[in-house]
């Protein structure tokens, strides 16, 4: 009886530890704007590095506008402040790599990307009158402008406007279904389109005398495709730095996976923030489509430098596979240790091999015997 209760207590503790639930009182269907935002400072100097409406956690990383990598080391949730330490200067991809004539093998294959909106109610207050328009927020119009930008360059862009409302903890469970459906069409890349919710000063800019909004790329740091996605994100930023410095403002490595575990080249973009006009984000979409197209399919920058497309690159595969094998191996080993331990574990492994590969081994033994 005593053991039984011990087991129940252990189970409950395990459940609590595993879930790490933080219950929030705010369930009003916010669109990343009513919660406030974090300001992140450099540890030691207290220099402001960036601001974000995303929840910031220790271990998150940040690739700044000037290509420096920081890691969040302290978070003050009540004060909405965080501190990050400088890690290293990011080595950006060379954009004048040898231009490959068959870049992206364009003659043989249709260029294709797909766009969707996990939070398709997100809107821009000055234009849309609200920060959230259920059904079809202003963000969908930005996606349409992004699509037009791609199509001008000969890239087919599929826009999926499926609503994943309400904006609750299951939004990404629902948008995962849309992302999976889009991936089945075989796009070269798939992008989840969002907007941020911090003061507009962090995002507004002017490109070629046109009002525009800067763009943030978000990478989920909890999946096997992180390195592959990082390659593409860095390529995009490198091209942007070359043609429109500061336009792609940064790359934020957040906790979570944002459906990026489904395949490589699945990215999340923040087109500006809720406080500026939607037109700024739409203007940015056209310019950004050109940058993303060059990153994916190759081309020539405004300065005449040649860019090799990422499409035929497999960078990030090795680390992705390592990640998978380590997770699977550790999971299996932990279970074996828990269920057996010591000598019994080896006996179970032998038993497993015998059971699972028995028929194969038997055939081989038989063959050896015949010889």
């Amino acid at each position: 009886m005593k053991n039984k209760w011990k087991a129940y207590v252990l189970m409950m503790v395990a459940l609590l530890l595993l879930t790490g639930i933080k219950v929030y009182a705010d369930t009003s269907g916010f669109e990343h704007s009513s919660k406030g935002y974090y300001t992140v400072f450099e540890q030691g100097t207290d220099k402001e590095i960036f601001a974000t409406s995303w929840e910031v956690d220790v271990g998150d990383r940040y690739h700044s506008t000037d290509n420096k990598m920081y890691e969040v080391v302290e978070v003050d949730r009540d004060g909405k402040k965080a501190y990050a330490k400088f890690i290293e200067d990011v080595k950006m991809p060379e954009i004048d790599e040898i231009f490959v004539t068959e870049t992206m093998q364009t003659a043989r294959r249709e260029k294709q990307v797909a766009l969707y909106f996990s939070h398709n109610a997100e809107s821009y207050v000055p234009t849309d009158g609200t920060d959230s328009k259920p059904g079809r927020g202003g963000i969908v119009e930005v996606g349409e402008a992004f699509k037009k930008g791609f199509e001008k360059l000969g890239v087919k862009a599929t826009v999926d406007t499926t609503s994943h409302e309400p904006h609750d903890a299951n939004s990404y469970v629902r948008s995962r279904r849309t992302a999976t459906r889009l991936l089945q069409k075989g796009p070269d890349a798939i992008f989840d389109i969002h907007r941020d919710a911090i003061p507009k000063e962090h995002y507004i800019t002017t490109i070629n005398e046109t009002p525009a909004a800067r763009i943030r790329i978000v990478l989920g740091r909890r999946n096997q495709n992180l390195k592959a996605n990082e390659e593409l994100a860095r390529k995009i930023k490198a091209i942007s730095d070359d043609t429109h410095p500061g336009f792609v403002r940064d790359i934020f490595y957040a906790r979570g996976n944002y459906n990026q575990d489904l395949a490589p080249r699945v990215l999340l973009f923040e087109f500006g923030t809720h406080e500026h006009t939607r037109e700024r984000a739409e203007n940015s979409a056209g310019i950004f489509a050109e940058i993303v197209t060059k990153a994916l399919y190759g081309g020539t920058t405004a300065k005449g430098e040649r860019v090799q497309g990422e499409q035929q690159s497999s960078k990030g595969t090795g680390s992705g596979l390592t990640w998978l094998f380590v997770i699977a191996g550790l999971g299996g080993l932990a279970f074996l240790l828990l269920s057996t331990g010591g000598r019994e574990m080896f006996s179970k492994v032998r038993g497993f091999a015998k059971r699972e590969f028995g028929s194969f081994l038997a055939r081989r033994n038989k063959r050896d015997g015949e010889k």
């Binding site: 189970m11 994943h164 903890a169 469970v173 459906r181 495709n225 957040a254 944002y258 490589p264 279970f335």
Partner: protein, 231 residues
């Protein structure tokens, strides 16, 4: 897609389906049966969703096959007691997942340790195990937790006129439905093994495992621990 990325996707899918196969293998399915279910889920993933209403659809691989398997396991349950426990666990897990989707933070970055579908697996598996210590109930509760929560959301959307679309199991074999079902069983196994460790051995160490079920060994009817209720 470059070959490297194809390998990466292939290995990811293989590992997920490998875990799923080991799990199904422990649910009164034969090796071949488990493989057939996995294959059906995979093929079903690519079959276009079946529309029910304008905003409600269902995917074959992510919902119809897993729910059919859950129903099969329910029918094959050994006793009426086990069936009742499975129904209660499924309803409780569905309610818990729906409630949690409303109180948990909306951003995946705000959850401290894991993605929500694994959390939902823990809820389904945890509730089922506490109620009946049954792997089959854990699977049923994991699958139905997501299906019932989706159903509740679809009803709420319909009632409130919300434009939100519900596609049951829409991500096929990679949907939260399948992941919750599979990992609920994994959790039930982990808890079961932990309990065994604590109580110093299994109640079934003198039993034989035949055709997916524990049966009394020929020459030993003596139980040495546990309450004999693990399935």
């Amino acid at each position: 897609m470059p070959v490297g990325f194809m390998i990466l996707v292939f290995v990811s899918v293989l590992i997920l389906l490998g875990v799923a196969h080991r799990v199904l293998d422990r649910l009164r399915l034969t090796d071949g049966g488990a493989l057939a279910v996995i294959a059906a889920m995979l093929v079903g993933t690519f079959i276009p969703d079946i529309g029910i209403t304008r905003n409600v659809a269902v995917n074959v691989g992510g919902a119809i096959i897993p729910v059919a398997l859950a129903v099969y396991l329910f029918i094959r349950a050994g006793t009426a007691k086990e069936r009742t426990r499975a129904v209660v666990a499924a309803l409780a897990a569905g309610a818990a997942v729906y409630a949690l989707s409303k109180v948990l933070p909306a951003g995946p970055e705000e959850n401290q340790f894991m993605n929500y579908y694994y959390l939902y697996a823990i809820i389904g598996g945890g509730i089922a195990y506490l109620l009946g210590r049954s792997r089959r109930s854990a699977f049923i509760a994991g699958i139905m937790a997501i299906v019932l929560s989706d159903l509740a959301q679809a009803v709420v959307n319909w009632y409130t006129g919300s434009p939100g679309r519900t596609v049951f199991g829409g991500a096929g074999a990679f949907d939260a439905t399948v992941i919750a079902g599979v990992f609920a069983v994994v959790l039930a196994e982990v808890i079961g093994e932990t309990r065994e460790k604590i109580q110093g051995g299994t109640a079934k160490k003198d039993m034989a495992f035949e055709r997916g079920e524990f049966v009394q060994g020929k020459d030993n009817k003596q139980r040495n621990g546990g309450d004999g209720n693990e399935e």
